[in-house]
């Protein structure tokens, strides 16, 4: 009796019988599904419907049961058993996944490529059952640049290319210049980017009210390095404002404004910006602004001064507790009420301020995590060297803490990029907004699916690349520590 049962049990002694039988059954079951889905051939069609549906699963299950032979000595078989065929339950799940993949490949392929239409430039070519990529092709400019005039779009392209090149300087910097890279990326690069976008994309004069503020800030920071640290706090309180007033009201204001205008560049108001380029612009600026604000509030939350601490906690918890959409509502309908009647802030700028403040709260929490994770010894060592608060944080604490929180920061930035479509609330249309606009065009009704798939692919590539990059950075710094 026992021997009979043993004979039916696959093991090493009857390896060949079961191996061939099992592989055959497994092969049949996969073949059945394959033929069914790729060529709509149903080789088990003679069976009643229910059985015909379940048969591949049963056959495959028996097949996998037969080839589940421990230590068979055949390397591939052992590998297969170890990875997808450890027990009955796993075998069924593996089969189901294989069948799902086989079943879903043909419809996806046919929708994406085989039955899709690519040629032409009107709706008439889209007669097939597949996707209508012609729609994307025709609307491409709108999806990329929004309502930006077609003739001026080279300005966006040129700015982005220039900024990408300037941004990649870090890769080519020699050791001699490496130590200035932080300064470059934190102060100079954002400034250049701002100039490009304001001066080139929107076509405004370079020198306007805010640019004095920026110049004053940069000048005072540079001079600030030479001020003894005892007076630095009061210096920063007074000098930037004084410089700003000085620059604005006393030094050749008119000449600078004239000088800043380029001939031939038309002013394109921000309402016309849109599409993917707007996604980039908003993410870029929010990224630049939310980082220092977040850092300030992270330090504030760990400050020894109770009042500063409570204000920081209040700020952080407030922004973290509300959804972004209400923040944007606030920036759209409530914020103008808080400003003097003749004072107008552009919609885009309001939007960037709102998102930056919102994300800054999240960045602050992430950085606080890094600050808390540092051992006390680091603080004490820095203090024992006679470093003050700012010196200690700039040279000892923050470099280490920021390294620790790179993944968290990257996640926050990822969330920021994914949040940009929400600006539809204030009437700015980036790529998702443009899709919704194009969808309602009477000439092109009924292509919502193509549009969303297109945008999903673009966002997926951006976000996936960012997350992989942050993962790499994390690995890199992990070994350095």
């Amino acid at each position: 009796m026992m021997s009979k049962i043993n004979f039916l049990k696959p093991n090493k002694s009857n390896l060949n019988t079961f191996l061939y039988l099992g592989s055959f059954l497994f092969f049949i079951s996969v073949l059945d599904v394959l033929l069914n889905s790729f060529f709509s051939l149903n080789i088990t069609g003679f069976l009643p419907g229910f059985l015909s549906f379940l048969l591949p699963l049963i056959l495959g299950f028996i097949g996998l049961y037969f080839i589940r032979i421990e230590l068979s000595g055949i390397k591939q078989l052992d590998l297969l058993n170890k990875h997808i065929n450890t027990n009955n339950f796993n075998a069924i799940l593996s089969l189901l996944i294989i069948f799902i993949i086989l079943k879903s490949i043909p419809p996806i392929l046919s929708w994406f490529f085989i039955n899709a239409s690519f040629a032409g430039d009107s709706k008439d070519v889209c007669t097939g059952t597949g996707a209508c990529w012609t729609y994307i092709k025709v609307w491409m400019r709108r999806f990329m640049y929004g309502m930006y005039p077609n003739g001026e779009q080279w300005r966006i392209n040129l700015s982005f290319i220039a900024l990408a090149l300037l941004g990649s300087v870090g890769y080519f910097a020699t050791d001699k210049f490496k130590k200035y890279l932080t300064l470059y990326y934190v102060v100079i690069y954002p400034f250049i980017a701002f100039l490009f976008i304001f001066f080139f994309i929107s076509g405004g004069p370079v020198f306007f009210d805010f640019s004095y503020g920026i110049i004053a800030a940069i000048l005072s920071i540079i001079i600030g390095f030479f001020i003894p640290s005892r007076f630095r706090f009061y210096y920063f309180l007074i000098v930037p404002l004084a410089l700003y007033i000085l620059l604005k009201y006393f030094i050749f204001y008119e000449e600078l404004v004239e000088l800043g205008k380029l001939d031939g560049l038309n002013w394109v108001e921000t309402g016309a910006w849109g599409g993917l380029s707007l996604t980039f612009i908003i993410s870029f600026f929010c990224l630049i602004f939310c980082f220092p604000i977040g850092m300030a509030f992270a330090l504030g939350r760990r400050s020894g001064f109770p009042l500063i601490r409570y204000i920081s906690i209040g700020f952080i918890e407030f922004w973290r507790g509300v959804p972004l959409i209400t923040v944007l509502f606030m920036s759209a309908v409530m914020f103008p009420m808080f400003l003097p009647a003749d004072f107008f802030i552009d919609k885009l700028v309001r939007c960037i301020i709102a998102i930056s403040l919102f994300e800054a709260a999240y960045v602050a929490e992430v950085i606080r995590g890094g600050l808390q994770a540092l051992p006390r010894g680091q603080y004490e060592a820095a203090k024992s060297l006679g470093m003050g608060y700012w010196k200690m944080h700039i040279f000892v604490i923050l470099p280490q803490a920021l390294k620790l929180v790179i993944p968290g920061i990257a996640n926050t930035f990822l969330a920021l990029v994914k949040d940009t479509p929400l600006i539809f609330v204030v009437g700015l249309l980036e790529i998702v907004g443009m899709l919704n606009l194009a969808k309602t065009n009477p000439e092109w009704l009924g292509f919502a699916m193509e549009g969303y798939v297109f945008a999903a692919i673009i966002f997926w590539i951006i976000c996936y690349a960012m997350s992989k990059y942050s993962y790499n950075l994390e690995e890199k710094y992990k070994t350095e520590r």
């Binding site: 170890k82 990875h83 997808i84 450890t86 796993n90 799940l93 593996s94 996944i97 294989i98 706090f233 309180l237 020894g304 001064f305 109770p306 009042l307 500063i308 204000i311 918890e317 407030f318 973290r320 507790g321 509300v322 959804p323 972004l324 959409i325 209400t326 509502f329 606030m330 309908v333 409530m334 103008p336 009420m337 808080f338 400003l339 003097p340 009647a341 990822l414 990029v417 994914k418 949040d419 940009t420 479509p421 929400l422 539809f424 609330v425 998702v432 899709l435 919704n436 969808k439 919502a448 699916m449 969303y452 798939v453 945008a455 999903a456 966002f459 997926w460 976000c463 996936y464 997350s467």
Partner: protein
Amino acid sequence: MNFKLKDLGPQLITVIAVVLVFGFFTYNAQVNMESRGIDFGYGFLSQESSFDVQFSLIEYDGSHSYFRAYLVGLLNTILVSVIGIILATILGVIVGIARLSPNYLINKFAAFYVEFFRNIPLLLQIFFWYFAALRALPLPQDAEPMLGIFFLTIKGLYVPAFIWQNFNIFFYSILAAIIAIIVIRIHAKKLQETQGKQTPVLLISIGLILILPLLSFLIGGVGLSFEVPVLKQLATTSFIYEGGVSLPPELIALALSLSLYTATFIAECVRAGIQGVGKGQKEAAASIGLTPNQVLKLVVMPQALRIIIPPTTNQYLNLTKNSSLAAAIAYPDLVLVFAGTALMQTGKAIEIVSITMFTYLSLSISISILMNWYNKKIAITEK
């Protein structure tokens, strides 16, 4: 008293700056409102709202007050959040465990799911489900019934309605079962601590929660019947279903995309939690003779839950806040009904936006206070 004049300077300056900014804003707001002839106040909440809401859990029409409209929006937000949280938890736990499976295919499938859904903006996913996927559903007259009683159509999902008789008795029976389970749990814990005896609490609980309501059906005179939706012709081409409960497509799209999106994050929390329990713990537990089930129940899960629960609660909070994206597809949630329609009608921007923000804020602060309390309770007390 450790008071230093030096410390006072920076604090004073910060406070003055904050007060100045707020004062500036308030002053401007006052001037602006005066010039536009708007008065500040929350009195409008009791006025008649005179707008309609498509979908509401409580009785509501235009003759009710703005406060009632606020409640409608709030309840809709809570409804979609609760549905989303339940679905996301189920899906997230399954995917999170699948991520740890030794089976290569399952593992990669789960990883693909996580990477795919969390790298696409939620708003895009909502649009996709609402405008592209759900629009491909059949019209009411062409819909095939699922299991004979559900109808999934372009106008929403129609499910049978429960019609209860003596519902209160049924409710009390469930309440009694829950109280009994709590008492038994406490008793079992005492027994375990004093005598080391283990009671099959789970089996008893399941039995109680099944048997007591069943008894209420048999003896208590509780009756339950279903009202199946029936197709009704309004005009030659216009059909609707009557009877039953109808869930609007906005709700379906929103709940679906919220749960699919949040499930990816919950899956990562679950994975991190289970991975966070050291291998030594499992081996130690096995070496003192616990069965694999006991290892999971008594050693791994309590430690894994300690890691899993705080970030998962955070995700629930995110889901609730993300449900405000409902405004984009016109699901009447708090933001759409109150910060949208009501704001348009009254023009009371400051009041309405502040109420909306305060609602979300109090929700998340209360949950984070609860979380802090829980964290303190379960934290491993170190020397």
